[in-house]
């Protein structure tokens, strides 16, 4: 939260105190007035200074009209304060979601807010987050989606930090904010990396398919997703001007690749997990079946659900069993 001018330590103390006061939050969340904080902005302080000068001048010169103007402007500033606070007090947080990401990438978090303000009036911040491009506006009127991107540093379970929802509307004289301690979590998968050759697939009876893909039946094309192997991209179609497409194959029932954690050549655990991730992504995108052998478990199957289970297992490897 870079805009707060208090020294960092004092700010941290204020935030901790506020969070103790309000506790953890549950969705849907209607922001109660008691947890909305408000301070004047620089422009607000300057405005106050001007009003002070007006008041002194009006008092000194005994000028009723100047005093009337002073009181009018004071009333205006108070209305502005109430309006800024009300802007947040009407906000209802109806959804919060973070999408899984791969380590080294970005966790995209989206907060769904139902309120009178427009998206441009609301600023969502969080510790070391970067603003993200807003997703398409949601259909329901009055609901806005606020995006935020966090760096996905380590694999494992990612927990959103305390978020801060801020507004300065309508006049920019006051800054009103609320801290949101929402339980938003997602998984950060290991980075997909490594260039070891894909282990050959095995039939349940032990026979191997020699050539990957040659026996698979092409099922069609689908849009490119993060993590897809470049080898599967339909480059010819791309060269013709169509978007990035990926070839999908029908896996042959029964045949499966076996990805064994323990037999990988590299010594480093993270490097092994990265290699496994890469293989799983490649294999899943070709709709093949595979078996993942980890020291503490064995997962076999195919399809999106299987892919997710495997990535989850890899993300949480060594951190106790996945919930």
């Amino acid at each position: 939260m870079p805009r707060v001018s208090l020294p960092g330590r004092a700010r941290g103390a204020v935030q901790r105190w506020a969070l103790r006061r309000q506790g953890r939050d549950q969705l849907p969340l209607q922001l109660a007035p008691r947890r909305i904080y408000i301070v004047p902005t620089t422009a607000g302080w300057n405005f106050a200074l001007l009003i002070g000068a007006m008041f002194v001048a009006g008092m000194n010169y005994g000028n009723g009209l100047v005093l009337l103007l002073t009181f009018w402007m004071t009333g205006f500033a108070l209305v502005a304060m109430i309006q800024t606070q009300r802007g947040l007090a009407t906000a209802r947080i109806t959804g919060a979601m973070a999408e899984p990401a791969f380590a080294g990438g970005e966790v995209h978090l989206t907060l769904e807010v139902h309120c009178r303000l427009s998206a441009a009036d609301l600023v969502l911040t969080g510790a070391d987050a970067a603003p993200a491009t807003p997703p398409a506006p949601l259909v329901e009127t009055g609901t806005i989606a606020l995006p935020l991107a966090f760096p996905a540093r380590r694999r494992g379970r990612w927990q959103a930090p305390v978020l801060r929802l801020e507004t300065r509307a309508p006049f920019g004289l006051f800054r009103s904010w609320a801290w949101l301690a929402l339980d938003i979590s997602t998984l950060v998968y290991p980075r997909a990396a490594g260039d070891a050759a894909l282990p050959e697939s095995e039939d349940p009876d032990g026979s191997r398919h020699r050539e990957l893909g040659s026996l698979d039946e092409l099922a069609g094309l689908r849009p490119f997703r993060e993590g897809d192997s470049p080898r599967q991209v339909a480059w010819k179609a791309y060269a013709r001007g169509s978007p990035l497409l990926v070839r999908e194959y029908h896996g042959l029932e029964g045949s499966a690749h076996v990805f064994d954690f323990s037999t990988l050549p590299m010594g480093d655990t993270e490097a092994r997990l990265s290699q496994l991730t890469r293989w799983i992504l490649d294999t899943a995108s070709r709709n093949l079946s595979w078996t993942l052998l980890l020291p503490d478990r064995e997962l076999s199957g195919h399809g999106a659900a299987h892919r997710f289970r495997c990535l989850e297992a890899l993300a949480l490897h060594g951190a106790g069993r996945a919930q």
Binding site: T42, F47, N60, D121, P170
Partner: protein
């Protein structure tokens, strides 16, 4: 401006500054107005991409030059005029580097500061709408800059600011009435050498003439109890003693004030005086006391304010129509008021001496001199011919044309020539009744000059030679004076009585404004509070009232904002609900999971005659909900949809029922 800000957010602060500049057009030096206007035009041209603004070095040089120019023309930057000029030119300099939202906010603050300077300078009622508009525009600019999301159009910015300003009005009124006022100034006010109006410290033929054509109000008077008749309403202003043959001047020396005693009941009144830039205060002759403003009374009865009257002020007066000065005139006083310029007006002096020789005493002489004015064929005119070096001789024996200043001057000269102490008193005579405002308006055209002579045993006696020449000046109606001295506006007002009524109501409004708002000082506040039953001023009581008032106001504002800032519902959903309700009243229940076309089929079976209307609504709804509008129909589309529901209601009310009836 930074990319991404709306165009309104870019030009509205410039417009707010421009509007604030307009408030100073008639008071600030023309060069500073020109500089400010150039700044506005350059910034606006820059925003349209027609002009590149000067670089940083140029801007610094321009700002420095303007600063030096301001300081050079005022020799200071502390006065109000100098401060306003500085704001004007520095605002213009800032316009050359308006890039970010922060710069735009600075412009808004400069505009508000200029507004404050203008209000400090002038407070007349006709300017108030201008001031309000300027404040509104400045705050709309703040809204446009502050919230680019919701206030990106001029209309919405004005709406947002106007809304907040309306909510602020009750608080402004509350604080205005109850915030305690200071008994005096905290520090002395730097004086600007502003223009002066009204009666001056000297009088030479012609000066009153210029005044008389002005219809401006000098002051307003509200009498406690009945007002004295017109012939008694002499308003005493500067008393002139020194005469150099051409011009009468106030005496800078001092004499002892002659002891005096009232011989009639006091007349009490309240005066609301327009700014003059001078120290003169006015009161009904003879002034006992003027209170409500720091002032002092001179030996000759004139009252001076301690500070020049630079804004409209109010004060109370106590006067006596009949007074007597027992005792004899002091030697200084006699010398002061019997001197005449040497070797001037020999014919007047000779005539005065012969008149005096024929008279029994000073009093008889004064009457004979007055009779001379009446009988020597002198006439009253507002356009007298020029007089020569011996001005009094010229007037009495050659031109015989003049107005109050000439006659008073000649009369006093005649008195002094015979050794009778005499002086010229200037001021105003009369005043017209404004029934609407309940006051007498004394205008500059009521300016008058008369004589005062000293008669042993009686003291200073007022003699008005003008009444001897033109008795109508005393019983005058506007019609009487039409030929002689009416100004163009007077003629207009006489011919069109409704215009006079209009002028009177404007005067009354101005008077109320000056008295109740601009001059709302400690004494007015005390009297108002005692009317309200609060009685003695007690800071704790006032603080409690203010606190309670502000709390109530805050609750009211928060409450009404709660109603207006509820998140908007889905307007299409509301239309669907209205449709479902209508069908339910007619006997077709619509469940929340029902698809529109299924509902339409059921309803059409029931009212075959209304099936067109049902289908129209249903298809229109589907089109708006899922079509190109994307669920956010325009207001016109919603209106059309509502009309379809109404058509449906009419059709189903009239149509015979179908199968299930």
């Amino acid at each position: 401006m930074k990319s991404g800000t709306s165009r309104t957010a870019a030009w509205l602060p410039v417009a707010a500054f421009g509007c604030a500049v307009l408030l100073h057009v008639d008071s600030a030096p023309p060069w500073s107005i020109a500089v400010a206007c150039i700044g506005v035009v350059m910034q606006l041209a820059h925003q349209r991409g027609r002009l590149a603004l000067p670089g940083a070095l140029w801007r610094a040089a321009i700002a420095l030059t303007l600063l030096v120019a301001t300081v050079a023309s005022y020799r200071s930057i502390s006065g109000l005029a100098a401060g306003s000029t500085l704001l004007l030119v520095m605002g213009a300099a800032k316009l050359l580097e308006m890039r970010q939202a922060r710069d735009a906010r600075v412009m808004v603050l400069v505009a508000l500061a200029l507004l404050m300077a203008a209000v400090l300078d002038r407070q007349s009622l006709p300017r108030v709408p201008l001031y309000a508009a300027s404040a509104w525009l400045a705050l709309a600019a703040l809204a446009a800059v502050g919230a680019q999301g919701s206030s990106s159009s001029l209309r919405s910015a004005l709406g947002t600011a106007g809304h907040a300003l309306l909510y602020a009005l009750p608080l402004a009124a509350l604080c205005f009435v109850f915030v305690p006022r200071l008994p005096g100034a905290l520090w002395s006010i730097p004086q600007d050498g502003g223009a002066t109006t009204g009666l001056g410290d000297e009088m030479s033929p012609g000066s009153i003439s210029a005044l008389s054509s002005s219809d401006d109000i000098a002051f307003r008077v509200r009498f406690e109890g009945p007002a004295p008749p017109l012939a008694q309403r002499y308003w005493r202003g500067p008393v002139l003693h020194d005469f150099d043959g051409q011009t009468w001047r106030r005496n800078r020396g001092q004499a002892v004030r002659q002891p005096w005693q009232p011989e009639s009941a006091p007349v009490r009144y309240r005066i609301l005086q327009e700014p003059t830039g001078r120290n003169h205060l006015f009161g009904l002759d003879t002034i006992g006391e003027l209170s409500g403003r720091r002032s002092y009374q001179l030996f000759d009865g004139q009252v001076l304010s301690a500070l020049p009257v630079t804004s409209a002020i109010a004060y109370e007066g106590r006067s006596y129509l009949q007074v007597r000065n027992p005792g004899t005139l002091s030697a200084t006083g006699r010398r002061l008021d019997t001197q005449l310029p040497e070797r001037r007006n020999p014919r007047t002096l000779a005539m005065a001496r012969s008149l005096r020789a024929a008279a029994e005493d000073d009093s008889d002489y004064a009457m004979r001199a007055l009779r001379y004015f009446r009988e020597s064929g002198m006439r009253y005119t507002m356009t007298p011919p020029l007089l020569g070096a011996d001005s009094i001789d010229d007037l009495l024996f050659r031109t015989r044309l003049g107005f109050c200043g000439h006659f008073a001057s000649a009369y006093v000269t005649m008195m002094r020539a015979a050794g009778v102490p005499a002086r010229v008193v200037t001021g105003y005579l009369g005043g017209t009744w404004n029934a609407l405002g309940g006051f007498y308006a004394v205008r500059q055209s009521d300016a008058h000059a008369w004589a005062e002579i000293w008669l042993d045993g009686r003291g200073w006696v007022r003699i008005d030679p003008t009444t001897a020449v033109a008795p109508a000046r005393l019983q005058r109606t506007l019609e009487d004076l039409l030929d002689e001295r009416a100004s163009a506006t007077d003629r207009l007002f006489i011919r069109a009585p409704w215009l006079r009524g209009l002028r009177d109501s404007m005067d009354a409004a101005t008077s109320w404004w000056q008295e109740r708002i601009v001059n709302y000082n400690l004494s007015v506040q005390l009297s108002l509070l005692s009317h309200l039953g609060i009685g003695e001023i007690d800071y704790r009581k006032l603080a409690l009232i203010l606190l309670a008032g502000v709390t109530l106001w805050g609750a009211w504002v928060a409450g009404s904002l709660r109603r207006t800032t509820r998140p908007p519902g889905d307007p299409l959903a509301r239309q669907w609900e209205a449709y479902a309700l209508l069908l339910k009243r007619r006997g077709v229940t619509v469940a929340s999971h029902d698809a529109p076309r299924a509902v339409a089929r059921r309803a059409a079976q029931r009212w075959p005659a209304a099936s067109t209307e049902i289908r129209d609504f249903s298809e229109e709804y589907l089109r708006l909900r899922f079509g190109a509008a994307g669920g956010t129909p325009s207001a016109a589309q919603l209106r059309a949809l509502r009309q379809r529901i109404r058509a449906l209601a009419r059709a189903t009310a009239a149509a015979p029922r179908g199968r299930t009836a």
